[in-house]
Symmetry: C2
Subunit: 346 residues, 2 copies
DNA sequence: ATTAGCACTCGAAGGAAAAGAGTGCTAATA
DNA sequence: TATTAGCACTCTTTTCCTTCGAGTGCTAAT
């Protein structure tokens, strides 16, 4: 990443100070504050001049004539990029918090969101891993009663899906055995995309009389595993109330709504997964976000891996004056943690 | 239900008018308004006298000396009880809305919450049916790989649960077959409560060498089906912003938080299911609610049945000045709808 | 190049005044 | 006797004005 701004060291330091201070207070910051806050030993007047320059360059903004300055999106962006360039590593007590409830995957992810929300004081989301490229591991058909069979589908990573299929005729044990054999000899090891029409036709052919059932089952597999199933767990949505600039207007409403409906959060997940750089961490500031209702926020996302192309997204949504440093550290830690938990589980 | 208030017809009419008007406007209502609003043809002065009486009797309240009156909890209670006494029936287009997405149970319930929220403009919740008294229908153990077997548990009503159990030794086909036989000869038809320690001991006895696995599986069944799993779907939490008396203070925060964490909503479900009257509809006004953070709200709940003792809860949370009439109608309709959908499915 | 000093701007906070809504009480009325 | 008109009173809400303070930009001095 190139940090190609035309700023000299002093301007950079002042900008840094403005942003950092604003992150803490949430109030516009004035020249006198900076004069004391930094170790530059400059008078407020000098700072004022520099700040006027920074404003011309578009890094900071004056909400009104006689207020201090707040960072612009461009300013935040520079700040974040600088952070990105640094390397950090730090493991905190999140580990224990996480492992406490590590049970089934949905529990883990729910817990992850919660831990993250508590640790950062922002709203958080965690998406269940998408499994487009994931492979089938095992299929089992069982007779539940006369007209219903249950299909249990296990994917790599032990993701389990069920589907009840209704059948016309009652099937005897032999046939069930045959169907199970058929499915389990050909399908395991295949990914969803590989199961195409030709494949399905071939299987149906082999199934003979039961071709219809095989069709139904395969159809069920397809529809069950479609990405429409993309689960998203959220926590700490009410944290937005902690930041006046978000809770004032009705933007809080929009954000919380997005969190409840989850529809829009999928946008973020999609977008995040489509790019891949920055050690998997991405930051959307203000209007950069894929979701319009969050234009007054910043969104920080990270990708976690589950092997075999399965990946999910962790996201933090907060005010633009987000504590990027802390958030990115925490996110990185959690990411690593999830990677580990899931890989150990297998 | 006894409507044992000591109110004459005129007082009742005035109280009714006050409440109804307040429900619409959200503002305290004065004597002049009532004078015009009702068909009593009384002057504001007379109304004033009556209202003073009603206040003495505790049915209405004056927020401050020179304001109109608003209903007290006791007033609402009377109003609601009167509504309860009426019979209503009405099927609206909810039916189509519901069936549109009727697929798997969680989808149905999610959709139900949404439809309800849109139809009423309040926050809504729907709990998945609890299955304490529900019976096992079918169990299937399958080998997934060397050290893992998957237990698929199907309950009456086709509720499916999965659990991966890790085993020490690899099990051969014969043993798997034997275990499946064992489980499926004794367990189906039993309810969770019936599977007690003696039962477990007997099964372990029969399992011989594999007693440990049986133990694990049974334990898994127990823990998988425990009410901690009680899923709750919510929608329209942000509707609270539509009612100033809820959105002003930080009570909106508390309510929305309760909706996100869902923990507290369980209280409501529990409480609702423990009682059974009023055609399954219950109303908690203000402090009557089981959840403290909703003391400024009213909560209306209904119970839907799924046969075999399985039942779930639908709830609406809104301001005390809720449109009880509409809500109860809608709730009753949806309740019926859910009953039907689920029974047809089986 | 830096800084001190100062006039200026503009929002926030405070407070008085006016407006408005509604009451309770009394006296008049049907 | 029940109802109503009238009026003084109370209390909130709104509006407008003032003051205060934080911060600026500019100029002149260092």
């Amino acid at each position: 990443m190139e940090l190609n701004h035309g700023l000299d060291d002093r301007k950079l330091k002042i900008l840094h100070a403005v942003i950092k201070n604003y992150l803490e207070t949430g109030e516009p910051v004035g020249s006198r504050t900076i004069s004391k806050y930094t170790d530059l030993n400059l008078s407020s007047a000098t700072i004022r001049n520099e700040m006027a320059d920074l404003e011309d360059l578009g890094y900071i903004i004056q909400p009104h004539t006689s207020a201090g300055r707040i960072p612009s999106d461009k300013g935040y962006r520079l700040y974040v990029d600088m952070l990105m360039a640094e390397k950090e590593q730090e493991v905190i007590e999140m580990r224990e918090q996480m492992l406490e409830k590590a049970d089934k995957m949905d529990k883990i992810l729910k817990q992850a969101a919660k831990v993250l929300a508590v640790n950062t004081n922002y709203a958080t989301m965690v998406s269940a891993p998408t499994m487009n490229r994931n492979k089938l591991k095992f299929i089992q058909l069982s007779q539940v009663d006369e007209h219903q069979i249950i299909a249990v589908i296990v994917m790599e990573g032990n993701i389990i899906k069920n589907k009840i299929v209704t059948v016309e005729e009652t099937l005897n044990n032999e046939i069930m055995l045959k169907l199970n054999m058929l499915l389990n000899t050909s399908l395991p090891g295949m990914s969803i995309e590989e199961i195409n029409l030709g494949m399905i036709a071939a299987l149906k052919e082999q199934a003979g009389e039961q071709s219809e059932i095989i069709g139904d089952v395969l159809h069920a597999i397809g529809s069950t595993i479609q990405p429409e199933d993309l689960e998203i767990y959220t926590s700490g949505a009410t944290n937005v109330f902690k930041y006046p600039e978000l809770s004032d207007n009705h933007s809080a409403q929009e954000i919380i709504n997005a969190f409840e409906e989850k529809q829009m959060l999928q946008e973020i997940v999609t977008q995040t997964l489509s790019k891949e750089d920055n050690h998997g961490i991405q930051v959307y500031i203000g209007n950069e976000t894929p979701v319009q209702s969050m234009k007054d926020c910043s969104v920080v996302t990270a990708t976690y891996e589950l092997g075999e192309g399965m990946q999910g997204t962790i996201g933090i949504i907060g005010p633009k004056r987000m504590d990027y440093e802390h958030v990115m550290k925490t996110l990185k830690t959690l990411m690593t943690e999830l990677d580990e938990i899931f890989h150990k589980q297998e």
